[in-house]
């Protein structure tokens, strides 16, 4: 389900006015990206499910205070998610290994293909682990949650350019980890102002 900003604003207004189905539509729109962001940070599916629920319950509670803030609803919701994850990680003191993340492979794939896919995914997981925390968060918000650089910047409390820089360095580090060749000149020079990934947004639900 795709919703534009105006439609989201309308749903938020309706929800604040007591329309539960409007909140349901907001849930449907955001739960996937929120879950993907959360699980990329906490790794354990059961934790991610609990935290996703907590994020929406917190959103319900805080919805009356939302309007005054003047932040796009998506950014606001992801901020809630980020704070929830931070609280969780802080109190838990322990991370589950990446291996505990759900392992899914193509349903029609043969055994060899499954092994190959798993291996490729494990490599991505390992590459993600080599990133700094901020780089990983930028990747999680941009790729797993599907936020734009501006939205991710709102969530992280940084400038969009900073987020792009984090993303650029993260991708460069991942390319190295994954052994993906890049043109020589791609690795030289300062942070490109332009590594915005088209079609990242709207991957909701």
């Amino acid at each position: 389900m795709t919703l534009d900003d105006a439609a989201i604003d309308r749903l938020v207004t309706d929800a604040r006015d007591g329309d539960t189905s409007a909140f349901g539509r907001l849930f449907d729109h955001y739960h996937g990206p929120i879950y993907r962001y959360v699980i990329s940070r906490v790794h354990r599916p059961s934790d991610a499910e609990d935290l996703t629920q907590l994020v929406f319950v917190k959103a319900l509670e805080a919805l009356p205070r939302y309007e005054a803030r003047g932040i796009p609803f998506g950014g606001w919701l992801f901020r809630l998610a980020r704070n929830t994850v931070i609280d969780h990680v802080r109190t838990r003191h322990e991370h589950a290994d990446l291996e505990t993340v759900t392992h899914r492979t193509g349903t029609d794939a043969g055994p060899e293909e499954i092994v190959a896919v798993r291996q490729a995914l494990d490599e991505v997981a390992t590459a993600l682990e080599t990133l700094t925390d901020e780089q990983r968060e930028a990747i999680a918000l941009r790729f797993f949650a599907g936020l734009s650089a501006s939205e991710a910047a709102v969530v992280m409390g940084k400038q969009p350019g900073t987020v792009r820089g984090l993303q650029f360095r993260a991708i460069a580090a991942m390319r190295r980890s994954l052994g993906i060749d890049a043109p020589d000149d791609a690795l030289t020079g300062a942070v490109r102002a332009s590594n915005e990934q088209p079609a990242r947004r709207g991957r909701a639900g």
């Binding site: 849930f27 993907r36 929406f56 060749d181």
Partner: protein, 317 residues
């Protein structure tokens, strides 16, 4: 917003593709879980969003009348109303959570603490029913720890056994104060000791600390309860007396009437004590088990270094 189409390097595209695949295959939510979460959230929304907002209520001239829980209607000012609204909302959310996910919260999960809190809040106020309920909770925590051990979930084992120790603490206090409770839970704790001891050999090394702590805690509870039960200095002779058959001289001094009349009563009381003497006999069980728990790591370190080749290989390469 900033959906500018930017040039990307071929290598970037490949990295993006792999990240997409990773998100699809590893980070996608489980539809069943999401349905459950949605139901819980919508239940909370139904309560929360239909509650009149304080801002709306403040516009109304007369103060709102609400029905206090278990009390008569009363009127409140706007600020108080706002606070109460928040409290009601919190209660509703808690209820929503309770209905939806908290009851299913797993040990170590973010909602596990809330689940324990709700369990605790719903316990009978006092008496045998409370002891029974707490005892059942102990069993449940132990079952959770065992299930977590099956999954290899170290964190969940720690959370379940942490809760176990906390519940045991309350029961221990009650048992020390009330011999009837002591009799009731003594056997339970011994059974738990056996389960925990068995568990110790099944879990990964990281989880052993939590189990050893629970074992120590259970041992200590039994000791404290025993000491409180045999608080009178004459009692310690009982086990020995019981064993040797010389314990009779102790009885006449204290309870001559009871020895004749309800001769059966003192004996059952004396019987549990021999039952509890095996507890010291059981101490060997926990004692040797921690040792294996602790001993393997040191010798294993040098041996296991080769096993930890993943790390070593990384270092080497």
């Amino acid at each position: 917003m900033d959906d500018e189409y930017m040039e990307v390097w071929p290598g970037d595209v490949e990295a993006y593709r792999r990240l997409d695949a990773y998100a699809e295959m590893r980070l996608a939510p489980d539809p069943a879980a999401m349905r459950r979460i949605r139901a819980a959230v919508m239940a909370a929304a139904a309560t929360a969003l239909t509650t009149p907002r304080p801002a709306d209520a403040a516009l109304a001239a007369p103060p709102a009348t609400i029905v206090a829980i278990g009390g008569a209607p009363r009127t409140l000012g706007p600020r108080r109303r706002s606070r109460l609204g928040t409290a009601l909302l919190a209660a509703a959310l808690t209820l929503g959570l309770a209905v939806g996910g908290v009851s299913a919260a797993q040990p170590g999960g973010p909602l596990y603490g809330q689940r324990l809190w709700i369990e605790q809040a719903m316990l009978p106020a006092s008496g045998e029913a409370r002891v029974d309920a707490q005892s059942a909770r102990l069993d449940e925590r132990l079952a959770e720890a065992r299930a977590a051990a099956d999954r290899g979930d170290t964190n969940a084992i720690g959370a379940a056994l942490g809760a176990y120790a906390s519940i045991l603490g309350e029961l221990e206090t009650q048992a020390i104060a009330d011999p009837a409770v002591a009799d009731e839970i003594g056997d339970d704790i011994e059974r738990h000791l056996a389960v925990l001891t068995a568990l110790l050999g099944e879990v990964p090394a990281q989880a052993r600390g939590a189990i050893e702590h629970a074992l120590d805690r259970s041992d200590a509870a039994i000791d404290h309860i025993d000491r409180a039960g045999s608080g009178r200095p004459s009692e310690p002779g009982a086990p020995g007396g019981g064993n040797n058959g010389v314990g009779v001289p102790g009885d006449p001094g204290a309870k001559p009437d009871k020895t004749t009349e309800p001769a059966a009563q003192p004996t059952p009381k004396a019987e549990p004590k021999p039952d509890k003497t095996p507890k010291p006999a059981k101490t060997p069980d926990p004692a040797p088990t921690p040792k294996p728990g602790r001993t393997p790591p040191p010798p294993a370190d040098p041996d296991k270094k080769p096993n930890k080749t993943p790390g070593g290989q990384q270092g080497e390469s």
